[in-house]
């Protein structure tokens, strides 16, 4: 660990490289977490199948390459297909668990996550798959190589997030979603079809996941069981950022990507995951201490 820190001080360019690569990873995490924050905030559903929907999006990309298309072609397809699938899942499962005890949604989506994994496994087998984008790369200085596909992913993620923000602010449906998130009963009284809103929100999240999956397949590798990696990251980000704090979710996403990369470098790759989850517990504890202070004042 000391050696690695020493190495960082010797060659600060390494640190820059780690941070840049971390930001690229973080962009994808942020996008996935953004979708989770949406369903969690609006309909109080903790979607444990989040990562598996991402991987599903990745397999749509992989299928596109099997048919001879460029993986990026799969992006609109993944968004549309996942939106439809999300709607179906809502009608079959999620509708019945909305507004229930938190474990209901957690476990129902855990079952869903098992289903998605296994269906993918039955169709594509457990082998690791990739989708080659062939976008090339460019060099910054003499050391840092930036993959174009990562850069495009970052831009794409930003564009998607922006589009959703605008959609939420401007469109009728967006306004209805925000109203439902604030007070579902009041929204219902005012004539909003909350069931429709919930279905739309869940489907929207599914298509966000699908889009993220396309990026994941082009940047990393996909496998039916890799969903849990993204689910855990998404939960960590949303929990650490706090509900209803969408800018916080995006910042935390970037932070997590950088932290994971830097921690993997400094502590060794075997402690990267531990570093991430310990950070989560630390953030929760920090908030708790703040809360106690507030309580003390009240007393």
């Amino acid at each position: 660990m000391i050696d690695n820190l020493y190495l960082l001080t010797q060659a600060p360019i390494l640190g820059v490289d780690l941070i840049i690569q971390g930001l690229f990873i973080g962009a994808v995490f942020a996008l996935i977490a953004y979708g989770l924050a949406l369903v969690w905030g609006v309909m109080n559903v903790k979607n444990l199948a989040q990562g598996d929907m991402v991987i599903l999006g990745g397999y749509i990309t992989y299928q596109a390459t099997l048919w001879g298309y460029h993986p990026i072609v799969a992006l609109p397809a993944a968004i549309v297909l996942m939106f439809m699938l999300g709607w179906i899942i809502y009608v079959l499962i999620i509708r019945r668990v909305v507004d229930r005890d938190m474990f209901t949604s957690l476990l129902a989506t855990f079952g869903l996550s098992l289903l998605i994994q296994q269906v993918l496994n039955l169709i594509y087998g457990p082998e690791v798959k990739v989708a080659e984008s062939g976008f090339g790369d460019f060099e910054v200085g003499s050391f840092i190589i930036i993959q174009n596909v990562r850069l495009y992913s970052l831009l794409l993620a930003a564009a998607l997030a922006l589009a959703i923000v605008i959609f939420m602010k401007k469109s009728r449906m967006g306004q209805a979603i925000r109203a439902t998130a604030q007070d579902a009963r009041a929204a219902r009284v005012l004539g909003i079809d909350t069931d429709q809103v919930y279905a739309f929100t869940y489907a929207l999240n599914a298509s966000i996941c699908g889009a993220a999956g396309v990026l994941v397949a082009m940047i990393w590798v996909i496998q039916p069981y890799y969903g849990i990696v993204y689910s855990i990251r998404a939960f960590i980000i949303v929990t650490a950022a706090g509900l209803g704090n969408l800018p916080g979710v995006i910042l935390t996403g970037f932070g997590l990507g950088v932290w994971e990369n830097v921690a993997g470098f400094v502590f060794g790759a075997e402690f990267a995951v531990a570093a991430v989850v310990i950070m989560l517990v630390a953030v929760l504890m920090y908030r708790l201490v703040q809360l106690y202070r507030v309580r003390q004042v009240v007393r």
Binding site: G125, V130, W220, V221, Y226, V229, F265, G268
Partner: protein, 416 residues
């Protein structure tokens, strides 16, 4: 009173359920009619599933071939082979349970191994306990052969040999270039699991022997999809040799990111290249010059009566399973394990497990996979590990020199 009934119903339901479970699975006999039943817990799902399925196909191919050739003759009667499989989900705890189930509930007396050292480590104590011989083809950890197991036989070379040969090769190259072997800097990235750590132990021993300097020693997490931070270190420290081991997903991830980060280490060796099909995924240019240790290669000149030569096996297997462009060694060794069983049945001329154990211990045969002769500890000592290099998209044996089909290309010249 209502509660009594309810509580009693609870108990009754539980008992009835377990009873149903018990009656439903009628214990199969070890030999049913003219069929000899072998058993195996194998990874059909979970992280080892890729190779677990390779191994299962190897078992099946051997069973089909042996049955087509008339089966196994014991006491003048010919028997067919059949394998009962369970899915261990790549988890050791499940593997041990399933071994118990195969032996206790299904009455299996002849075991084939699971995939991976971790699973074999979990299952071997069980088979040993019941004195059931197990021929395994996929558990290479040398620690399996220091436990004094009497019923465990492995057809493959032990794992500390996997990448150790690349150390010797690096030393050889260094000396050819007029440098000392002790100047060689090594970077290691090994998955944090029993198999890879065992490979690592072999590498560390050999590196120590040459006095080489290990500059990076990272252990990769199991749900590995990104090794950027390790490769950043590699770029900074410029080692002479980079070693990677992490089953198929490790090879797939490393293959992609070595290319993306333009790692210019002159010698890179990694396990499971074939299983991950790195050439198919990333093309011949990006993978040019990677060294891949293998238990077996179809270019080797081994042969036997049933399967023919190694090349013959390769093409026959591809005919049966056309989805394989290159037949991984995991498949070949699984096939060899079944052949060892068939051979032992015929020599023991009996179904008695102790007689079979002795027959297995006395195995000394030549197969398409290589010589098979077990040491006292149960590992195969008649077959060396070979090192192949990817040259223009082909896997060619470069070491040891006795089997070499091509010259080593050094340093590697990939096109990123």
């Amino acid at each position: 009173m209502i509660i009594t009934r309810k509580h009693m119903r609870t108990v009754t339901a539980a008992v009835a359920g377990v009873a149903a479970l018990g009656l439903a699975a009628t214990a199969e006999a070890k030999v049913e009619g003219d069929t000899i039943i072998l058993g195996s817990a194998i990874s059909l799902t979970g992280k080892y599933a890729t190779n677990g399925i390779h191994a299962q196909k190897g078992y099946e191919f051997a069973v089909d071939k042996i049955n087509a050739a008339g089966g196994v003759t014991v006491d003048g009667k010919s028997y067919k082979l059949k394998v009962t499989y369970y899915d261990d989900e790549s988890t050791p705890a499940r593997g041990a349970q399933l071994a118990e189930r195969l032996i206790n509930q299904d009455g299996v007396k002849y075991m084939l191994g699971p995939y991976s050292s971790g699973l074999t480590k979990a299952i071997a104590p069980v088979t040993e306990k019941y004195k059931i011989p197990m021929v395994e083809a996929e558990g290479a950890s040398r620690s399996l052969f220091t436990q004094g197991y009497k019923y465990l036989f492995a057809v493959l070379s032990t794992s500390e040999q996997y990448l150790a040969s690349s150390i010797a090769l690096a030393a050889e190259v260094a000396e050819k270039q007029g440098k000392k072997a002790s100047d060689v800097k090594i970077a290691m990235a090994f998955e944090n699991d029993p198999f890879s750590l065992d490979v690592r132990a072999g590498v560390v021993d050999d590196a120590k022997k040459y006095g080489m300097n290990i500059v990076i020693d990272d252990k990769l997490p199991r749900d590995l999809s990104d090794m950027t931070s390790t490769l950043t270190k590699v770029k900074a420290l410029k080692p002479d040799l980079l070693l990677v081991s992490g089953h198929s997903k490790g090879a797939a991830t490393a293959g992609r990111q070595i290319q993306e980060m333009k790692i210019d280490t002159p010698m890179i060796a990694m396990t499971h290249c074939e299983a991950a099909d790195v050439v198919g995924k990333y093309g011949a240019g990006a993978t040019e010059g990677l060294l891949c240790p293998t238990q077996w290669s179809e270019t080797l000149s081994y042969k036997d009566d049933l399967m023919g030569s190694a090349a013959q096996y390769h093409s026959d297997f591809q005919k049966t399973y056309p989805e394989y462009k290159t037949v991984p060694y995991q498949t070949a060794q699984a096939t060899a394990a079944v052949m060892v069983w068939a051979d032992a049945f015929e020599r023991a001329n009996s179904f008695d497990t102790d007689k079979l154990r002795d027959a297995l211990a006395a195995t000394d045969m030549m197969t398409f996979y290589g010589g098979i002769k077990f040491s006292e500890a149960g590992n195969n000592v008649a077959k060396p590990m070979v090192l192949r290099q990817i040259q223009d998209g082909e896997y060619l044996v470069v070491a040891p020199s006795k089997w070499a089909a091509a010259e080593l290309r050094h340093p590697r010249k990939p096109e990123y």
